[in-house]
């Protein structure tokens, strides 16, 4: 990393940290995710053991990370605010006066948003998993149908770390959208709509349209949580799904960076 880039990253880190909204959105990501997971885990029970000890097809790992469906909205807000706070307040003029190489300034922001989002994502998914475990056990998710799993199992590790990566990509996607749209309310609305709309309308379609929607959805990366074959799994594997979310993030960031370099501040 060049000296200028290092200084820019340090400055962005201070900037993001000194904005109270970062703390609040971070707490919201963790709180909403863990809360929804706990609610889900404490209200879902299984009768698999009673049905002759056959292995059940509930995905206990994915269920232990279920709250991310809602928590990701706060992550989108965090990513969007990292960029719109510049435009909405005029800070962009100070930023580009201090770091006139626009590509460097944008890159530094991407680096810091990615780092913070991954840290929040990791805390969120680990906490969600650990909170869900005893609740699931208490509701009948036990051997032989549901042998207990731990964080260090390869599949669990993939799901938990993958969820942190997924949340990171969503924050970056939102930041890219925000660099394009520049207004907080508009950027958050656009990003949240793009993220959730395909999933919301999915239920109305079957066949090819349904499959196309699944391929186009930014939430494709949620497939990283899949640890069991189920009828309602998406038509692609965990890593392909995460790759689809990454494609959305990269696309938004590329357009955002291009505009960031071109526009007058």
């Amino acid at each position: 990393m060049s000296a200028i880039a290092r200084r820019a990253v340090t400055a962005e880190w201070t900037k993001l940290r000194s904005m109270p909204s970062t703390t609040w959105t971070a707490l919201a990501v963790v709180g909403i995710t863990v809360g929804l997971t706990a609610f889900m885990a404490s209200t879902s029970s299984t009768d698999a053991n009673q049905a002759g000890g056959l292995p059940g097809d509930d995905d206990v790992v994915a269920n232990a990370l279920f709250g991310v469906w809602l928590g990701q909205v706060a992550m989108v807000a965090l990513g969007a605010l990292a960029a719109t706070s510049e435009f909405a307040t005029g800070t962009i003029r100070a930023t580009l006066s201090a770091i006139p190489r626009r590509g460097v300034a944008f890159g530094a922001k991407v680096t810091i948003v990615a780092g913070i989002a991954f840290a929040i994502g990791a805390v969120t998914s680990v906490a969600s998993f650990l909170v869900a475990q005893p609740l699931q056990h208490g509701n009948g998710y036990n051997a032989p149908a549901y042998p207990h799993v731990s964080l260090t199992d390869p599949l669990v590790l993939r799901a938990v770390v993958g969820t942190a990566l997924y949340l990171t990509l969503l924050a970056l996607f939102a930041m890219g959208v925000a660099a394009i749209v520049r207004h907080t309310a508009a950027a958050t609305t656009v990003a949240v709509t793009l993220v959730l709309a395909p999933t919301v309308v999915l239920g109305f379609f079957t066949g090819t349209i349904r499959e196309v929607l699944q391929w186009l959805s930014p939430v494709a990366g949620m497939s990283i949580q899949v640890t069991r074959d189920r009828f309602d799994n998406p038509p692609y594997g965990p890593w392909v799904g995460l790759g689809l979310t990454a494609a959305w993030a990269i696309g938004a960031l590329l357009v955002g960076a291009w505009l960031w370099r071109r526009r007058d501040a």
Binding site: T10, M19, T91, R93, P100
Partner: protein, 315 residues
């Protein structure tokens, strides 16, 4: 801080043929001028004249449609440590309202490897030492303005560019900023200050760049401007009007009677007039050389250029 900063006091701002168009208006029109070190250069024009747009182009924040702007011999955007070379105040409200003043200065310092001790120094310098821990959203316009000045001074830069720094300051603050700008120029720095009010710069600026509708109207020293505007008239009052008129006319002056006992004289200095009147044992009640103010000059210059469109100018 100190000499380790490698201050270069020979840095100038060079604007060459700078032009900026917005959809249907030309905000800055082929502007060319230089801002030199060691003096305060006022950048004056009515609201909407293109002052802020010009400053934003100098900083590389807005791209010109034509022309160039350079600072210390190179475009601003090439500078590895821009805040140590140019301190700029564009809009005092360009801070995040939820961020504490000290944090605002901190990230700026970090971005240009400016020692953290400098943050306390500049806060003290502008009189904000006690409120550094407060969020800038709660600042009055005057405090925000002082914070903006602190940010501009952070890198101890040889060049300062301030857009309407007097805006929002209380009378005490106005006196302070004027003295401060003078002292910065006296240290050899390049000080470029905009204002839409010429009177704000009287007594502060040494040199003036006056623009109207994006075009350069005047680029001259304050002295030159004032002497070009003063026609040298002297107003006098005397009970011996007719006799005085004769004496002065004979001495080659143009004399106009303005009131029953008042005359306006051009072509002779006040001292010479007083001498002539005394020589002829005539009486004099009052003798006043008429001085032009910068405001007179400015109004004269911008009469045709005044534009009431607030659009396209943030200052």
């Amino acid at each position: 801080m100190g000499p380790a900063y490698g201050r270069r006091m020979d840095e100038t701002i060079e604007v060459r043929g700078l032009t900026k168009r917005y959809r249907d208006t030309v905000a800055v029109d082929d502007l060319t001028f230089s801002v030199l070190p060691g003096r305060v250069t006022g950048f004056v024009g009515p609201n909407g004249a293109g002052k802020s747009t010009t400053m934003r182009m100098i900083l590389g924040l807005a791209a010109p449609d034509a022309g160039t702007a350079s600072v210390g011999g190179e475009p601003y955007v090439r500078k590895p440590f821009p805040l140590r070379e140019v301190g700029a105040l564009l809009d005092a409200s360009d801070t995040h309202p939820s961020r504490r003043a000290r944090d605002h200065l901190r990230w700026l310092a970090e971005s240009n490897d400016i020692p953290r001790s400098r943050i306390t120094e500049v806060l003290e310098l502008v009189g904000l030492a006690d409120v550094g821990g407060r969020r800038t959203g709660g600042f009055s316009l005057g405090m925000a303005q002082r914070l903006g000045i602190a940010a501009a001074l952070l890198g101890d830069p040889p060049i300062l560019m301030l857009d309407e720094p007097v805006n929002g300051l209380d009378p005490e603050g106005i006196v302070w900023i004027r003295g401060f700008l003078r002292s910065l120029a006296a240290e050899g720095r390049t000080v470029f200050v905009s204002s839409h009010l010429m009177s704000e710069l009287q007594g502060t600026a040494d040199h003036l760049v006056v623009i109207g509708r994006g075009r350069l109207l005047v680029d001259a020293s304050v002295e030159e401007l004032l002497s070009s505007a003063a026609n040298g008239a002297v107003v006098l009052r005397t009970p011996d009007r007719t006799e005085v008129m004769t004496v002065l006319a004979n001495a080659g002056a143009t004399v106009v009677s303005t009131r029953a006992d008042a005359l306006s004289v051009t072509g002779l200095g006040a001292e010479r007039i007083a001498g002539l009147v005394a020589e002829h044992r005539l009486r004099l009640l009052e003798l006043t050389p008429h001085r032009a103010t910068l405001e007179d000059v400015y109004l004269e210059l911008t009469r045709d250029a005044v534009e009431h469109a607030a659009r396209g100018d943030r200052g």
